[in-house]
């Protein structure tokens, strides 16, 4: 046997997503992104109805907490609104000899929430960055009322917090005077109650807030699907290894027309619903 084949095998064991075993229990444990909590709960609910022997437990807590739980082997699937960070990938490689598998399950537009009474109805990416880094502090300077801007963010554990920091703030820090809320629903509630507030979160969330146009583009399904709306991202499921058994069946279903239909009903953009 040529040595190269031995090496290939060694590499496949070390760094590819080789298959491994999950517990035989009929429960699937899912934890992670708060943004995805509602979506994952909906998926779990419909799936459990169609598969009576399976129980799915869904927890939020943020993408970072989900990935920690995944690395500790406490859950089967981590939901994530961002990709793995380098240190997380290294931990997976250290503990599992695998870089993990990432599944794309939906697309999401990140909406910028404004109070409906705010005369500002649209923003540019540059204005958004300046507002959240503290360079623009008053609505007046961008055509609004003379009123200090109250920036609201998710907590730093959230994948949305990190996505916004990387893609909108281009890696710069948030201004220190931001208001931190744990969930998207809390952000929406805060913005709805404060005329000078601005927040961000999933496009699928509703409430008494205005979803601002960004660079003149409205956040709607079509604009997110065709990448016209400038703040879009994929939502993911992570597993440590190639899933098998009940976990594989669930993920296969999520990617199927039935699962993608639940994605659409939950306010997100299905990736393959119309084409299967």
């Amino acid at each position: 046997m040529k040595l190269v084949y031995k090496i290939l095998f060694a590499i496949s064991i070390l760094f590819t997503a080789c298959s491994g075993g999950f517990t035989d229990s009929e429960t699937i444990y899912i934890k992670g992104s708060d943004t995805m909590f509602e979506l994952t709960s909906n998926l779990a609910e419909v799936y459990m109805k169609e598969n009576s022997g399976i129980s799915i437990k869904v927890e939020g807590g943020g993408t970072t907490e989900g990935i920690k739980a995944l690395i500790k082997n406490q859950i089967d699937i981590c939901t994530a609104s961002r990709n793995l960070k380098p240190d997380e990938a290294k931990l997976l490689a250290d503990y599992y000899g695998s870089l993990g598998l990432v599944f794309l399950i939906a697309k999401d537009g990140l909406s910028i929430y404004l109070n409906p009474s705010n005369p500002v109805k649209e923003l540019s990416l540059s204005q958004l960055k300046k507002i959240y880094t503290g360079e623009i502090k008053n609505w007046k300077s961008i055509g609004g009322k003379d009123s200090p801007i109250i920036t609201v963010t998710r907590n730093p554990n959230s994948g949305t917090f990190l996505f916004f920091k990387e893609h909108i703030l281009e890696g710069e820090d948030y201004a220190n005077d931001k208001i931190v809320q744990s969930t998207t629903n809390e952000i929406i509630k805060f913005v709805a109650e404060n005329e000078s507030a601005i927040g961000y979160g999933g496009m699928g969330y509703s409430g008494n807030v205005l979803h601002a146009k960004i660079e003149g583009v409205e956040p709607n399904s079509e604009n997110v699907r065709n990448d016209t709306y400038p703040i879009t991202r994929y939502l993911h499921l992570f597993t440590t290894k190639s899933p098998r058994g009940k976990v594989k069946s669930f993920i296969d279903w999520v990617l199927s027309p039935a699962g993608q239909s639940v994605v659409r009903k939950s306010g997100y953009i299905p990736l393959w619903e119309n084409k299967l």
Binding site: M1, K2, L3, V4, Y5, K6, I7, L8, F9, A10, I11, S12, L14, F15, T16, A17, S19, N83, L84, P86, D87, A89, K90, L92, A93, D94, L99, G100, L101, V102, F103, L104, I105, K107, E166, H167, E170, G171, D227, R233, Y234, F238, S242, I251, D252, L255, L271, W272, K275, L276
Partner: protein, 549 residues
């Protein structure tokens, strides 16, 4: 009694029944009816400009899939995919970087903005590659950690949260026990280097091609196509390929210049060290999600004990699609790669379905998609098989066929890893065809790891790719070798792999006959191919048997 026409015919029938069992009789009829005209008919559909090069996720590729499925239907193949059609639908994701992407290299005294296409490419495109904050860069030799060779480029440097830069290739040696001597090991693959870097905590990778480097223009051509993955993939990160002409920027003010690195590479004395530069990348991408399809059809076996075991015949039907224009042509038709292989697959489907007697085992025909993007269709199939992997006795993959009808030797690529080699030898000998090993000029091509047979083998299925050898009745070895080299240099993955080139469908039908004989024997043998002791694929086979997967 004077013999009449009917008497003679009857006598001939009785003679045949006595001499050959019924299946043999069917076999020779079928064997002789393998038709170069049928192969040509399919080839002129699949290789036509109207299919626009069959790029995965395009209308041309869908048209090809529809054409294949219609042939399967006409031949009476059974539908076995879960959607009750010939299509096994595969969710895929495509991404292509836009020119407004910004890559900046920052040294102590300067900032360099370098341009996509002109100066660098991305191995993997998409959101996972976004690095808006400048990160330190570390040079890590060839980017290899190979304990079996006592070799570790990461031994003396910390790369966590940093970008690593490495050269292509691997340490050079004439000693076969060290990185396989003159032949490349898996460590020379870009994907291996990327995964080693990610597993070490690196935030991104940059490969500088100098060892296997023809020209940046060639790379520009190769990287001009959309990056496509399955809906699921191994975690990734920013991974760049940088033009060696500008690589010195990365080494500004550092311990060694790039020119010194080139010299170290030549003398096999590479050293890892941190660079005095940083890098940031703001990518802008056009992304899309789509469904592509493998086309799968079955002919059931007849033996009660054996029909629940399966032979897979496969050929990929996708090619590159539309790409950079060369001499006014932008359609990469992929006639040799692999419209001809699919044409042979279809002809074999027709022939097997025409057999009057069913075979003992069942046979599955799969026209795979996404091969050109990294064996996507075959990998998806082995993750989602339509019949259990452990009941799948072998895979014969068809990716390219013989060029010359006078060929008198074949290469069973990967056959040496399993007993498939004996089956192929037995088939070839009947037709006075020799088996030879891969000619030394092409060993570095590493053919087994470059097409769908690798995905099937990695799932534990004994697999083989049958290629034309260099022995020929009307040409010398060196003439044949030169033709192969000319093909790889001038035709392969260019718009010139189209219907205007000389295609010998007689050679294709002769190639098809060998595959037919081999497949026929495998389908009717009481024995099944086995991996040879020591093969790296045995464990996957044992696992699938144990798990009844």
């Amino acid at each position: 009694m004077k013999p009449t026409y009917l008497n003679i015919l009857f006598a001939w029938f009785v003679f045949n029944c006595l001499v050959f069992p019924q299946t043999k009789n069917s076999f020779y009829d079928a064997f002789n009816s393998i038709s170069s005209d049928e192969i040509k008919k399919h080839l002129f559909v699949l290789g036509d400009d109207s299919l626009e090069g069959r790029g995965v996720g395009t209308k041309g590729c869908d048209k090809a899939a529809n054409y294949i499925s219609k042939q399967f239907e006409a031949y009476g193949l059974k539908k076995i995919s879960s959607e009750n059609s010939y299509f096994q639908n595969i969710p895929m994701h495509g991404s292509i970087p836009l020119p407004k992407s910004e890559l900046t290299i920052i040294s102590k005294d300067s900032t360099f903005s370098i341009s996509y296409f002109q100066d660098y490419f991305l191995y993997r495109s998409g959101q996972q590659t976004f690095i808006p904050t400048a990160l330190p860069i570390v040079f890590v030799g060839y980017g290899i950690v190979a304990p079996e060779f006592d070799y570790n480029d990461y031994q003396s440097v910390n790369v966590e949260g940093k970008i690593v830069v490495y050269l292509d290739g691997e340490p050079y040696s004439d000693d076969e026990s060290y990185f396989d001597g003159n032949y490349p090991t898996v460590y020379s693959y870009s994907e291996s280097k990327r995964r080693i870097a990610i597993s070490r905590g690196a935030s991104g990778t940059i490969q500088i091609p100098i060892n296997n480097f023809e020209s940046w223009e060639k790379i520009q051509n190769d990287f001009s196509f959309e990056d496509v993955t399955l809906a699921y993939s191994v975690s990734s990160s920013l991974s760049l390929l940088i033009n060696p002409d500008i690589a010195d920027i990365l080494f500004s003010n550092s311990k060694y210049s790039f020119a010194q690195i080139v010299e170290m590479n030549k003398s096999n004395k590479i050293e890892s060290f941190p660079l005095e530069t940083k890098l940031k990348f703001k990518g802008t991408f056009k992304e899309r999600d789509f469904i592509a399809s493998n086309v799968v059809g079955l002919i059931e076996g007849n033996d009660n004990d054996l029909k629940d075991s399966y032979l897979i015949l496969s050929a990929h039907y996708d090619h590159l699609g539309i790409g950079p224009k060369i001499d006014g042509d932008s359609i990469y038709n992929g006639v040799s790669d692999n419209a001809i292989g699919v044409s042979v697959l279809l002809e074999l489907a027709r022939i097997f379905s025409s057999l009057t007697t069913k075979q003992d085992r069942s046979i599955i025909f799969i026209a795979t998609t996404g091969e050109e993007k990294g064996l996507l269709g075959s990998s998806y199939y082995t993750d989602n098989p339509v019949v259990p992997l452990y009941k799948t006795i072998a895979n014969i993959n068809i990716d390219g066929v013989a060029m010359f009808k006078d060929f008198k030797s074949l290469v069973g690529v990967g056959g040496e890893l399993s007993t498939l080699q004996q089956y192929l030898l037995s088939s070839a000998e009947k037709y006075e065809i020799e088996l030879q090993s891969i000619p030394s000029q092409f060993k570095s091509v590493d053919a087994f790891n470059k097409s769908d047979q690798l995905a099937f083998a990695s799932a534990g299925i004994p697999s083989i790719l049958i290629l034309e050898g260099t022995k020929n009745n009307s040409k010398t070895d060196s003439e044949v070798i030169q033709s192969f080299i000319d093909y790889y240099l001038n035709i392969y993955h260019t718009p010139f792999d189209d219907l205007n080139q000389q295609i010998d469908t007689e050679a294709a039908s002769k190639h098809a006959k060998i595959i037919f004989d081999l497949a026929f024997n495998l389908l009717n043998s009481k024995h099944t191919p086995e991996w040879k002791e020591g093969s790296q694929f045995i464990n996957a086979r044992l696992r699938s048997i144990a798990e009844k997967k």
